[in-house]
Symmetry: C2
Subunit: 219 residues, 2 copies
DNA sequence: AATATTTTTTAGATTTACCTAAAAATAAAT
DNA sequence: ATTTATTTTTAGGTAAATCTAAAAAATATT
C-alpha cells in the first residue's frame, strides 16, 4: 500500500503519542498536527477504513498491527535521513529534523535500503533514537536520566526526552551531543543542579530541569 | 515563493518542452503530464496569475523570466539527486530518474547547497545533462555524435540521444558510461561501423546505429 | 468560401484535506 | 442527580487538482 503525505504524518504522530500502546485522544492529535479536532476526526475515519488504526467514536484511537508496521517504516526513513544529513552533509543536529520531515515521505523502498547500506546500517539517529531495521526491529538501550547517574560514574549520552530547539541550543552550547562521554562531578542539594565533567573540557553546571531530559547509559 | 509539487512538475515539463524559447501547446503538455487538456488549461491559468508563464488562450504558453528561474532550480535539484543516487548509492543510470522525480520537490535551499558541496559541485548528471549552479548557470559542451568524431582523436562520452533500456544494455556490455574516454581506431566503409578504443580495454566494434546516439566532446 | 477536423477552453463534478459553527457525547463539579 | 464544562463528532463549506462532456476557436480540407 501507498499512503499520502498527510496520512503518513498522522500515522507517525499517533505512533509518537504512544498510540501503539495506549489510546490517543482526538485533541492530543489535533494539537500535535497543528489542526482542528474536526479535521482529525475526518482523518481517523479514513485511517480506520484503511485498517491502520482501531477507532470507535469518542474512544480515541490506537494503531493496528499494520499501522505499527507503517509507522515504523516512516520512522525508519526519517531517522536514516537524519543520520545522512548529520553525518554526510554536516548539518547540526538541531537542523536535521525539519528536513527529514520532508525526505521521509519519499517512499522508494530500494532507495531506503541503499541509503541504509551506504550509511553503514546505523542503529541510532543523531538524537540517540533507535533506527528500525527493514523488519521494524530496533535496538533499545537501558538508559537512565542524567539526574539519576551516580557520582563519578563514566557514562555516554544516548538520548533526549526533550528535543525542542531551546533544548538543542542549550546542549550545543555545553558541547553535549549524542555519544558524548560524561560524568557527574558534584550534585548541588540547593537546586539539584549537577556539575558535569566532559573529558578535555572545563567543568560546567547544568540545571536539574535540563539534566532530567538527558538520557545516558553506563557500564 | 514556494510552489506545489504539481505546479513544479508543470513548470519543469514546460521547460523540458523548450518553453523558455518556443510556445508549448496545451496538448503537448497534457501528453507529457499524462493528464487531460482541460486540466492543463486550469493549471496554465493558475501559473499565469502567479506570473510564471506568459499565456493567452489558444496561443500556447511560454515561461516568464521568473518561470525560467524556478524551472532551473527544479532541474538543479533533480540532477544533483540523480548524481547522488548514481555516484553514492550505486544505482544504475536508468533507475535514478524516477527517484529523483520525487526528491526534486524537497525544497530546503540549504539542503541543496550542502548536497552540491558534498558531491563536489558536479557539472553534469549521470545522463550527461548539465547541472545548473545556484545561480541557474550551466556549462554547455560542444558535443558531436560519435560517428562524426575524427580518427585517433581522444574524446569523452558526454551524452546520449537514446536512453532506452536496450541502449543501456548495449552500452554497459561495452563498458561505455558518461565520462568514459574513447577514441575511434578505425571506421568501416561497408556498414559505417566504428572500432572503439577505451584505455585498458580490448578494441571492439560498435554499429553506426548505436554510435550515432552517443555524444562525445573533445579538445 | 464553406465545411470538416483538430485543438483548446468552459461547465459542471469529484476527491482530498482542510475549515467553522453547532450538536451530541462524555466527564467534572455542584 | 443535575448542572456545567470539556471533548468529540456531525453538518456544511472551501480550495487544489483532477476528471468528462460539451461548446468554442483555430486549422485544415474540400
Ligand atoms: Mn512529515
Ligand atoms: Mn531524530
Ligand atoms: Mn517530479
Ligand atoms: Mn538526468
Amino acid at each position: 500500500m501507498n499512503y499520502s503525505v498527510s496520512e503518513e504524518n498522522y500515522i507517525k504522530a499517533i505512533y509518537n503519542l504512544n498510540g501503539n500502546k495506549q489510546p490517543v485522544s482526538t485533541n492530543a492529535l489535533a494539537d500535535i498536527m497543528a489542526t482542528k479536532p474536526a479535521s482529525v476526526t475526518d482523518m481517523l475515519k479514513k485511517l480506520k477504513t484503511k485498517k491502520l488504526i482501531i477507532y470507535q467514536p469518542y474512544q480515541g484511537c490506537k494503531l493496528s498491527a499494520e499501522g505499527v508496521k507503517v509507522a515504523l517504516n516512516i520512522v525508519r526513513r526519517h531517522r536514516l535521513w537524519e543520520y545522512f544529513l548529520a553525518e554526510k552533509l554536516k548539518f547540526e543536529w538541531n537542523e536535521i529534523h525539519v528536513i527529514a520531515e520532508e525526505l521521509e515521505h519519499v517512499s522508494n523502498p530500494k532507495l531506503i535500503e541503499r541509503l541504509d547500506e551506504y550509511l553503514g546500517f546505523p542503529r541510532f539517529d543523531p538524537h540517540g533514537d533507535p533506527i528500525p531495521d527493514h523488519e521494524g526491529k530496533m535496538q533499545m538501550l537501558k538508559q537512565v536520566k542524567l539526574t539519576q547517574l551516580p557520582l563519578h560514574t563514566p557514562a555516554k549520552v544516548s538520548g533526549l526526552t526533550d528535543q525542542s530547539t531551546d533544548m538543542l541550543e542549550l546542549l550545543r552550547h555545553s558541547n553535549i551531543c549524542i555519544g558524548t562521554d560524561v560524568e557527574i562531578n558534584r550534585k548541588f542539594g540547593f537546586d539539584h543542579s549537577v556539575e558535569i565533567k566532559i573529558p578535555g573540557n572545563p567543568l560546567f553546571i547544568i540545571s536539574e530541569q535540563a539534566a532530567q531530559h538527558i538520557l545516558v547509559h553506563h557500564e
